[in-house]
């Protein structure tokens, strides 16, 4: 859970040099109010979310990155097996709450969404507005 959320002033915070922040990398940035933000570099995009899990406040952005598990059905809706789908999740390491990397939505209940932060890239560096 999050505390002290209010009209906190935000500013651009340095994350990494673009060249040092490759797909699959991530950084945890702490803003001026002590709040942690997880910044991900994945394929051609950057994503940034609150690092406080909506379940019990765990470090949501600090766990495993893993593809969504998908059930496969065959003819007649028979169960065939399971595969890893293309979309990527990040998992809170405390209890396993899984979030969609592209939206920050909790995949078990998409009403739950992590706070999202803007990421900007300029002059060879990546910044998060937090």
């Amino acid at each position: 859970m999050e505390f002290c959320i209010g009209a906190e002033e935000m500013r651009e915070l340095f994350v990494a040099k673009t060249a040092d922040f490759k797909s699959g990398d991530r950084r945890i940035v702490v803003n001026d109010h002590g709040r942690e933000v997880g910044v991900f570099s994945q394929d051609d995009g950057y994503y940034a979310y609150s690092n406080y899990c909506l379940h019990s406040g765990g470090p949501a952005c600090e766990g495993l990155m893993i593809n969504r598990v998908q059930e496969v059905l065959g003819p007649g809706k028979t169960y065939v097996g399971e595969i890893f789908a293309d979309d990527v999740h990040f998992v809170c390491p405390w209890h396993g709450y899984e979030y969609d990397l592209k939206t920050g939505e909790n995949v078990a209940n998409r009403i739950l969404k992590l706070r999202k932060y803007d990421v900007v890239e300029r002059d060879g560096a990546v910044y998060v507005v937090a």
């Binding site: 945890i28 940035v29 019990s56 766990g63 495993l64 405390w94 209890h95």
Partner: protein, 414 residues
């Protein structure tokens, strides 16, 4: 209060750096933040159900087994990689395919040479969460009641209990335990209470629930009488048995876990009440561990409903089953969180949570709870919160409710 904050440079996820060190304190730093914000420093928190991994100490534990033959077999079994071949296990993948990173990471956590690792590791998470005292239980031994050889259960219980008393409970007053009762051998269970009942840090005795001996068997009455006389609670710690004929129909761990952890405690509690054990031993304290809360809410209603029509089937009872159940203790974890909190509030009322509910973390297992599951409930007043988080358990265990924790990052109060 606005604390001037200087933001540190961005950092990698330290606990995931390949080959790097794992840190419990780092992974639980948000728990410590919660503990500071909620001022846990002001009151005692007792965790009635936490765990260590006794299999990491098998070589030492097995040395304490009395029988030279079983000791030899046990020590030999510990020399080969993997689970001890002398002991039974269960299929179960708590770590959700590696998603619970501490399960694997703990092996990379450093402790100083010469320190008792279990004590150090346990106190790290305790301080991070704001816990003062923790009742420590084993992990693989939760399935030992299913071992086909009762004498192995007895031998390991005896060895483990002695090891735990000497190496952990005698050493650190913040760690207590309800010791393992080898329940498949009623005489050995009695002897266990006799031998260990007065040891330092022994706050009661624990029966692992997956087993097939009914709790109302006459063979147990003298053990219950002894526990009642000593004022030590008996607890039933839930677990599952995937090989149970009913459980074997379930194809996923999530399903076995959800039902298995309720089922055995429902059966034992039903036998306990319907056979009038509370009438025979009215001062014996009973605790039900790790089944969550919804089962009790349900069972109270089911048993009352049937009892009103069939009192002749339970002639020992002088009151409704739910009234006996309201005098028992229940550990909180894994605490169900319905979207509609009024359902949880009703459950708390039903089990008389203010005096009968005791908080537990189950840390480091996959579905652990923090104290905030209780502290943040909107329908509890401060007194009820403090009772559930520690006051009630401190009384039950005979613990001096002195605050001794050191929450990382908290201000020091002299």
């Amino acid at each position: 209060m606005d604390i001037p904050f200087k933001n540190p440079p961005p950092f990698e996820v330290r606990n995931l750096v390949p080959g790097g060190e794992f840190s419990t304190v780092d992974q639980l730093r948000h728990a410590a933040e919660q503990a500071v914000l909620r001022k846990y420093r002001e009151f005692v928190i007792v965790d009635v159900d936490s765990h260590h991994y006794e299999n990491e100490n098998y070589r030492e534990v097995f040395k304490y087994i009395d029988s030279p033959v079983i000791r030899r077999q046990a020590l030999e079994s510990a020399e080969r990689p993997g689970r001890s071949s002398l002991l039974n296990g269960q299929v179960g993948y708590q770590d959700i395919g590696g998603r619970i990173t501490r399960q694997r990471g703990r092996a990379r956590e450093k402790t100083e040479p010469g320190e008792q690792r279990d004590i150090v590791m346990t106190k790290r998470w305790m301080d991070s969460m704001g816990v003062d005292y923790a009742c420590l239980f084993p992990t693989p031994m939760l399935f030992l009641g299913l071992h086909p050889q009762p004498e192995i259960e007895v031998a390991l219980a005896q060895g483990y209990n002695r090891w735990l008393c000497e190496q952990i409970l005698d050493v650190d007053p913040r760690l207590v335990s309800m010791l393992y009762l080898p329940f498949n051998d009623p005489e050995a269970a009695y002897r266990t209470v006799k031998e260990f009942g007065h040891r330092k840090g022994v706050t009661g005795f624990m029966v692992t629930s997956p087993r097939y001996k009914p709790v109302h068997d006459n063979a147990y009455m003298k053990t219950y009488a002894l526990l009642e006389e000593m004022g030590k609670p008996i607890s039933f710690h839930a677990a599952y048995n995937w090989n149970d004929q009913s459980m074997a129909m379930l194809n996923r761990f999530i399903s076995v876990h959800a039902i298995g952890f309720m089922m055995y405690n429902m059966i034992h509690l039903t036998n306990w009440v319907m056979n009038g054990i509370p009438e025979r031993f009215p001062k014996l304290k009973v605790m039900w561990i790790e089944s969550g809360l919804t089962w009790a809410y349900s069972l109270m209603q089911r048993l009352d409903h049937s009892y009103m029509m069939r009192p002749s089937d339970a002639p020992a009872l002088k009151r409704k089953p739910s009234e006996y159940m309201r005098e028992m203790y229940y550990s909180t974890q894994p605490m169900e969180m319905p979207d509609d909190k009024s359902i949880l509030e009703a459950t708390f009322r039903m089990i008389k949570a203010d005096t009968q509910l005791v908080w537990s973390s189950d840390y480091p297992h996959w579905d652990f709870d923090l104290p905030s599951v209780i502290y943040d409930l909107p329908f509890l007043d401060e007194t009820a919160k403090r009772n559930i988080l520690g006051g009630t358990a401190a009384k039950l265990f005979g613990i001096d409710p002195k605050v001794v924790k050191k929450i990382p990052g908290d201000i020091v109060v002299s």
